[in-house]
């Protein structure tokens, strides 16, 4: 079963004419002795939106955070297997984690702008990499805010605190902040779950725009959102050993109209549990 998925995954990525941006091979994640993720094989196609869905606790966030090595921050976390981005293994010894985090950006569930001005929030990343000239930063800040569909709303308030804007705007600010360092992949961990429906739709539209330039991976517990927004969907579930596993991975249209695995069918029709 595992082999079938692995093969079909690579075949499909080729068939879709979208080269794989990232390939996950036999990924397993342990917290101490506890195996949180087991035997995940997956390929993330370039400049498409891939959604990861599944019931609570099935390891979606753990998988997502493996893509930018944020799991390293949890003590006693161990990773087996590999994740390659365009050929390079992200988990090879000696790899520059800071550079990985620049190339693979992240947007979190609750908007978390820094307690600084809007300008300084977006400029934070570039400044880390040594860009200090005002004119350079101005350009980057404007471009990033425009890409995040926020520029028009706050261009007169750049020096106000990042916390003074609405929740939906804060989340777009966080997206702009991530875009400022020009990543290749953007990871989104339930980016709209803390937002009202209109802000949610704005973020979803933004994702469709962003996918022209960036590869996006989104974790969501909102199935309809996954169906609306993504091109490919990965279905995960906990197995008997309480480890998260990849159950099915296919084009979104297939997953939601005629999934192959009964567990996927039960989940998307709401009859799980």
């Amino acid at each position: 079963m595992k082999m079938e998925i692995a093969e079909s995954v690579f075949l499909m990525a080729a068939a879709v004419e979208s080269p794989a941006k990232m390939i996950v091979r036999d990924l397993a994640v342990f917290y101490g002795k506890f195996r949180a993720l087991n035997g995940v094989n997956l390929s993330i196609p370039t400049r498409m939106i891939t959604a990861i869905i599944g019931p609570s606790g099935c390891g979606k966030s753990t998988l997502l955070r493996s893509f930018n090595r944020m799991n390293d921050l949890t003590s006693n976390c161990r990773v087996e297997g590999e994740i390659t981005m365009e050929g390079e293994n992200l988990y090879a010894p000696g790899v520059d984690v800071v550079d990985i985090r620049r190339r693979v950006g992240m947007v979190f569930q609750r908007p978390n702008p820094f307690p600084k001005s809007i300008y300084d929030n977006v400029a934070y990343g570039p400044r880390l990499y040594g860009i200090h000239r005002r004119s350079d930063l101005d350009g980057i800040v404007e471009r990033s805010l425009k890409s995040a569909a926020l520029w028009d709303e706050i261009k007169d308030k750049l020096h106000q605190s990042g916390l003074s804007i609405s929740g939906g705007q804060q989340q777009r600010l966080c997206i702009a902040r991530a875009l400022a360092v020009e990543p290749e992949v953007i990871l989104m961990d339930e980016p709209a779950s803390a937002l009202d429906p209109i802000s949610t739709l704005k973020i979803e539209e933004l994702m469709q725009e962003l996918k022209k330039d960036y590869t996006i991976v989104i974790v969501t517990h909102n199935m309809q959102q996954a169906a609306r927004v993504s091109d490919f969907t990965a279905m995960m579930m906990i197995d008997d050993a309480r480890a998260g596993r990849l159950i099915e991975y296919d084009a979104t249209n297939i997953i939601f109209t005629r999934p192959k695995d009964k567990r996927t069918e039960d989940y998307v029709t709401g009859r799980f549990g």
Binding site: N68, M70, L73, V98, D99, R101, R102, G105, M106, F108, Q109, R110, N112, F114, P115, K116, Y124, G125, L128, Y129, Q160, S161, L163, S164, I165, C174, R177, A178, V181
Partner: protein, 314 residues
């Protein structure tokens, strides 16, 4: 069998009335007890204001003490002494305190982190006079004389536990997502702490610092054994004299901190024991000044936080 609604329907009006009267009773009881609790506070403030107020005049603040029998004279030396000694204490206590707190918050389960927290708790329980004695042995004896420097060190020991504990608590309150967001952009740990965590926790850290400062300003025991007292301490004179003699900034500062100092609490203690009524009156005045100083620090702390919070929330 009656339903809940049927059961409570009986005597609805009576119960409502009883609820109202119990409410009123409780409310008045609480108000009474609150007033009772406030009585000592206002009594002390009132007494000090009345008793000390009559000795307050401009002279009090800008003049050094005059011998008994002469009119005028003030406690400038004590005011300046308090300022110098608390400033020194702040300089000595804040850097290690804040850094230690960052370490303890980031690595709570390491041996060093655990030791830090344990030592902080122990230090906060040490009596202030013992700290004074320790500083005496450490500095006064080795230097050969009493000094403001030693006083600053002693007070720093006193301030350290409060600063560490408050800073650590405030850092723990910063949501972990802020830290993750910074790390997710590729920032190293130290930059994250400096540029993101510290500003986010700044409000609380400042409060902690000011509270520690207010406490230090009012401490007597450690200063007894380290600064001794100096009725002829005149900051203005030292500075202008030094400038005229072309001394460097370091030399002037050295002269300031390297001699015995007086301070407000110390002065209060000394004057209150003297047989002269004028001195007794002055000790009440000093009490008033000290109280006002602590009050001002606290109010400033609160005002600062209000302004910062309003600016942050936009």
């Amino acid at each position: 069998m009656s339903t809940f609604t049927e059961l409570i329907d009986r005597n609805r009006i009576g119960r409502a009335r009883q609820r109202k009267s119990t409410n009123a009773l409780m409310l008045s009881l609480t108000a009474l007890l609150t007033a009772l609790a406030l009585v000592p506070l206002f009594w002390i403030i009132g007494y000090v204001v009345v008793r000390g107020g009559k000795s307050i005049n401009l002279d009090f603040f800008i003049h050094l003490p005059r011998p008994m029998g002469m009119a005028g004279g003030g406690v400038l030396h004590a005011i300046e002494g308090t300022l110098v000694v608390t400033l020194l204490a702040a300089v000595f206590a804040i850097p290690p305190g804040v850094l230690a707190a960052f370490y303890a918050a980031r690595f709570p389960n390491t041996p060093l982190g655990v030791a830090l927290r344990f030592s902080t708790d122990v230090l906060s329980g040490v009596p202030s006079i013992v700290i004074g004695l320790f500083t005496y042995a450490l500095m006064v004896k080795t230097m050969g004389h009493y000094s403001g420097l030693a006083g600053g060190v002693a007070l720093a020991f006193l301030m350290l536990p409060t600063i560490i504990r408050t800073t650590e608590e405030m850092l723990k309150l910063v949501p972990s997502t802020l830290r993750e967001a910074s790390l997710g952009l590729g920032a190293p740990e130290w930059k994250t702490s400096l540029s993101v965590l510290f500003p986010a926790a700044a409000n609380g850290i400042i409060t902690g610092f000011l509270l520690a400062l207010a406490r230090a300003a009012g401490e007597t025991a450690p200063l007894l054994l380290t600064t001794l007292g100096n009725e002829r301490f005149d900051l203005a004179q030292i500075i202008t004299g030094g400038v005229q003699a072309h001394q460097s900034v370091f030399q002037i500062i050295g002269r300031i901190i390297n001699q015995p100092l007086d301070s407000l609490p110390l002065t209060l203690w000394k004057y209150a024991q003297q047989p002269y009524p004028e001195r007794i009156d002055q000790s009440w005045a000093v009490a008033l000044v000290l109280m006002l100083l602590v009050l001002t620090i606290n109010i400033t702390a609160r005002a600062w936080i209000q302004v910062r919070t309003r600016r942050m929330k936009g």
